[in-house]
């Protein structure tokens, strides 16, 4: 039976930072990811990041990803298990995985789960026809493989992802017909909204999609205005000429492995769905199991990086590694508080507070 000191499941920004932080303190780490390369959603982020220097503000997501990738490669204490899907965590602590076509088992002293989140769907007529894509899918097509998703896009969702992906579509030479959002106000950063308006893309709030038009693929969309009760106002329907409908309506934490650990979970609309309870060390109620990143509450890549580092340091500390870990950890905890301190962090602060209550 293989074993490791710290198993990190998920090699996106949270997972990579957790592995790096723990290995730098001296722990043996095994970093799993089902993809062919680490990076998670970071590898698709062509825009410059916000935050402060700790979160590499001003640097493009793709370049931040490279920085972490190199650190992971160079650290001999990190065992890399890419193209490997973790299947389950058994009650006796055995982690099972599929490595291409073979089955493996490994035990770990500590486990950090950083499996991220997946796209939510939006119910509307004909939402299943080809051409209705999640925002992440559009980014994967465009930014990882250089293939345009279509020629004329309707973006649904004016949060940061909707605004950023719309801008990236324009950079790829694709027309964005409109960005709509059911809420009365734009949810993403206003600087993102302003820069996309300057490029001629309308942002229409209090609006949602009624149906996708098309028999075998998207050929258009019908949108309509919403009243204060989120109901369509009759007579406000408008038809748009689009061949792609991009959904950017939120993410849901991918918590299946957490369910295996039997840690306490709670439903939080603000955090994206069912999330684990965690303490300040990011340990769940299942002893030895930690979490970091979107899996424990949908937020941003910057927070994922900081949480990953905190979880990695906590796990290493609990094994007796490192000196003065508490001081280093406090810096990152403060960084996380700063990130969440402003008005844009209200949703997260409220969501986390509700979990405690």
């Amino acid at each position: 039976m293989e074993n490791t000191e710290i198993a990190v499941i998920g090699g996106g920004p949270a997972g990579m930072c957790a592995a790096i932080a723990a290995a730098e303190q001296g722990s043996r780490v095994t970093l799993f990811d089902r993809g062919k390369e680490y990076g998670g959603q970071l590898v698709k982020q062509t825009h410059r990041f916000f935050g402060s220097e700790k979160e590499y503000a001003g640097t493009r997501g793709i370049n931040i990803s490279d920085i972490f990738l190199n650190k992971v490669k160079e650290n001999k204490l990190i065992e890399r298990k890419k193209d490997t899907t973790v299947l389950s965590i058994y009650h006796d602590g055995v982690i099972t995985y599929e490595d291409r076509n073979s089955y493996g088992r490994i035990t770990a002293e500590r486990t950090i789960i950083a499996t991220g989140a997946s796209e939510k769907m939006l119910p509307f007529e004909n939402n299943d026809i080809p051409g209705v894509y999640g925002a992440g899918a559009v980014q994967t097509l465009m930014n990882q493989y250089g293939v345009v998703p279509g020629d004329k896009v309707l973006m649904i969702g004016a949060g940061n992802i909707g605004l950023i992906v719309s801008y990236q579509l324009i950079q790829a030479g694709v027309k964005v017909e409109a960005i709509i959002d059911a809420a009365p106000e734009i949810g993403g950063f206003l600087v993102h909204a302003s820069k996309i308006r300057r490029l001629g893309v309308p942002i229409i709030t209090s609006t949602s999609i009624k149906k996708a038009i098309g028999k075998n693929y998207v050929e258009g969309a019908v949108i309509g205005s919403l009243d204060e009760n989120w109901k369509f106002i009759p007579g406000t329907e408008k038809e748009l000429d689009v061949d792609t409908i991009c959904l950017s309506v939120g993410l849901s934490p991918l918590v299946e492995l957490l369910n295996n650990t039997k840690c306490k979970m709670k439903y939080s609309a603000l955090l994206g769905g069912f999330v684990p309870l965690k303490d300040k060390n990011l340990e769940t109620t299942a002893k030895g199991y930690y979490v970091a990143g979107d899996v424990s509450g949908v937020e941003e890549a910057s927070s994922a990086m900081l949480e990953g580092t905190i979880a990695g340091l906590s796990a290493a500390d609990s094994l007796g590694y490192g000196k003065k870990i508490e001081n280093i950890k406090q810096e990152y905890i403060k960084g996380l508080e700063d990130l969440r301190a402003g008005p844009m962090g209200e949703k997260i602060r409220l969501g986390l507070k509700q979990l405690e209550g």
Binding site: H47, R48, F49, F50, G51, S52, E53, A57, G58, T59, R60, N63, I170, Q171, G173, P184, E185, I186, F189, L190, V191, H192, A193, S194, K195, I196, R197, R198, L199, G200, V201, I203, T205, S302, D338, L339, R340, A341, G342, P343, M344, G345
Partner: protein, 166 residues
């Protein structure tokens, strides 16, 4: 309004400009950052200590210290929100120049004429490209300097490169 449409009101925009006296002295940075978000590259990129408020708390809205600001334009490329611009009203009596961040293709060349766009993306004028800064250190946020009539000073912040008919 801004929270519904993404477009700030004229008074809000004007609030970010320096004094009349300073505007007549030479180039200056204008930060069209109206919302408290955690972000500080404008401050960390400035070599002249001209960005204030944000050093105590990265969520604060940055304020330009116009005594120190030289209008060098480093912030134009550094801002992740593409919200920093440098305006020079001393270019001529009729025209001002503005440095804008540009991350699209094709890149224009010095001397080209491009469309000036208003805040809704409408083409409002054809303007000359005075300078294009596109070196590696700018990490693909190129800086384009255009010269245009002073009537556009509060409204034009982007351009469209294309076949200009005429």
């Amino acid at each position: 309004m801004l929270k519904k449409t993404g477009i700030p009101k004229l008074e809000t925009i004007k609030d970010k400009f320096p004094s009349e006296a300073r505007r007549k002295k030479g180039p200056y940075a204008v930060f069209e950052c109206y919302q408290r978000i955690p972000c500080n590259p404008c401050s960390t990129s400035c070599k002249f200590n001209a960005v204030e408020e944000i050093n105590d708390d990265i969520n604060n809205i940055p304020v330009v210290n116009y005594e120190n600001c030289t209008g060098c334009g480093l912030c134009v490329s550094a801002c992740p929100g593409l919200a920093c611009f440098v305006i020079d009203e001393t270019y001529s009596d009729e025209k001002f120049t503005i440095k804008i961040p540009y991350e699209l293709l094709p890149l224009p060349k010095k001397g080209d004429f491009v469309y000036a766009l208003d805040r809704e993306g409408n083409e409002v004028d054809k303007v000359e490209v005075i300078r294009v800064q596109a070196n590696k250190s700018l990490d693909n946020t190129n800086v384009i300097t255009i010269a245009l009539p002073k009537k556009h000073i509060y409204s034009v912040r982007s351009i469209k490169v294309g076949e200009i008919s005429e």
